[in-house]
């Protein structure tokens, strides 16, 4: 939005800082993780992004992204 470099945004993905090309969608980010999207869930800024919205949801400056899946537990 107000970032000087309009071609990149800084986001936090699972707690790690990443710079992504402006206009990167959740779907593109998930694909860049190099694993099957099956069994994954994504939250952006503490809101669930349902799978059907991954393509249309573009990441913005400062967004906090969580990409989660099953782990042993409980």
């Amino acid at each position: 939005m107000t970032a000087p470099a309009a071609d990149a945004v800084a986001v936090l993905v699972n707690g790690a800082s990443r710079r992504l090309p402006a206009g990167t969608s959740v779907a593109t980010l998930v694909a860049s993780l190099g694993r099957s999207p099956q069994g994954l869930a994504v939250a952006v800024n503490l809101e669930v992004v349902v799978r059907s919205r991954w393509e249309a949801t573009l990441l913005g400056e400062g967004d906090r992204v969580e990409v989660l899946t099953a782990a042993q537990g409980g």
């Binding site: 707690g15 694993r35 069994g39 869930a41 939250a43 669930v48 969580e66 099953a70 042993q72 537990g73």
Partner: protein, 273 residues
């Protein structure tokens, strides 16, 4: 959903556990936490006979890539996501919604913990989260304390089960307050599943003898010296406890009561004695 109360004389094969209208042949639910390896977990799952097993939701880097779901699929075990690690209703509700998205199930084992020392459930946050999730269409299986009043409130807001602890998570202390568990069984109509505290097979059998509809355990199996063998022990203990409950135990007596009739007893006293 009301669970069908077991009837004496019915075989175990017909004695299904019914949760929210779905039937399970096994009354043992396994948690997947604590296993040394996925291979050990798979062997334990198979030996346990469990048809339902819990998984947690974690960041992809820390989760082993979600491989645990593949283990469950191979073993033919249905996945029950949990909200382990949540301390507030807000966190638990968001985690449940993420789990629904990841695993395509609206069933959730709801855990909201009060502190990291005891891992005891926070009843205020738990009840709040349960209400919100039920309003959002979830089937909620709440991990709760052994307080009959809280259990009743959880049933009233529409939980599919109540899952009181026997003792703190991972403590292996067994059922510290069997009377409280009996009161919960007496007071709620939904299935009561003893969750947490089981250390060995007799604890699981006791839960079933007290009238619980099922037992959920993880550490007792996954951290046992031989998880596969302990899983088999737990399967048998749950079955034995269930059968004993259905059969109806004898009342406790202070003094002995001979099982052999005195009628026809030989007179073996010395002559003239």
């Amino acid at each position: 959903m009301l669970e069908e109360r077991g009837q004496p004389g019915r075989g175990p094969a017909e004695d299904a556990l019914v949760i929210a209208g779905e039937r399970f042949g096994s009354r043992l639910i396994l948690g997947t936490g604590g296993a040394a390896s996925l291979e050990a977990l798979e062997r334990a799952l198979r030996a346990s006979g469990a048809e339902l097993a819990t998984v947690a939701l974690r960041r992809v880097e820390a989760s082993g890539g979600g491989a645990v779901t593949e283990v469950l699929r191979r073993a033919g075990v249905r996945l029950l996501p949990n909200t382990a690690g949540c301390y507030t209703s807000r966190d638990a509700v968001l985690t449940a919604r993420l789990a629904r998205e990841a695993f395509d199930t609206s069933w959730i084992k709801l855990e909201v913990i009060g502190d990291d020392r005891t891992l005891l459930p926070d009843p205020v946050e738990l009840l709040d989260a349960a209400e919100k999730l039920i309003a959002d269409g979830f089937t909620v299986l709440p991990y709760c304390g052994d307080d009959p009043v809280v259990a009743r409130r959880l049933e009233q807001v529409g939980c599919a089960t109540v899952m009181p602890l026997g003792a703190p998570i991972g403590s292996g202390l067994g059922i510290r307050n069997p009377h409280a568990i009996s009161l919960i069984v007496e007071q709620v109509q939904v299935p009561v599943i003893l969750d947490a505290g089981v250390g060995t097979a007799s604890d699981a059998a006791l839960a079933m003898e007290l009238g619980c509809s099922g037992v959920l355990l993880a550490s007792a199996v996954t951290r046992a010296h031989d998880p596969e063998r302990m899983a088999e022990a737990m399967r048998k203990a749950v079955e034995a406890g269930r059968l004993a409950h259905l059969a109806g135990r004898i009342p406790r007596r202070f003094h002995a009561r001979a099982s052999t009739a005195d009628l026809g007893l030989a007179d073996l006293s010395p002559a003239g004695g």
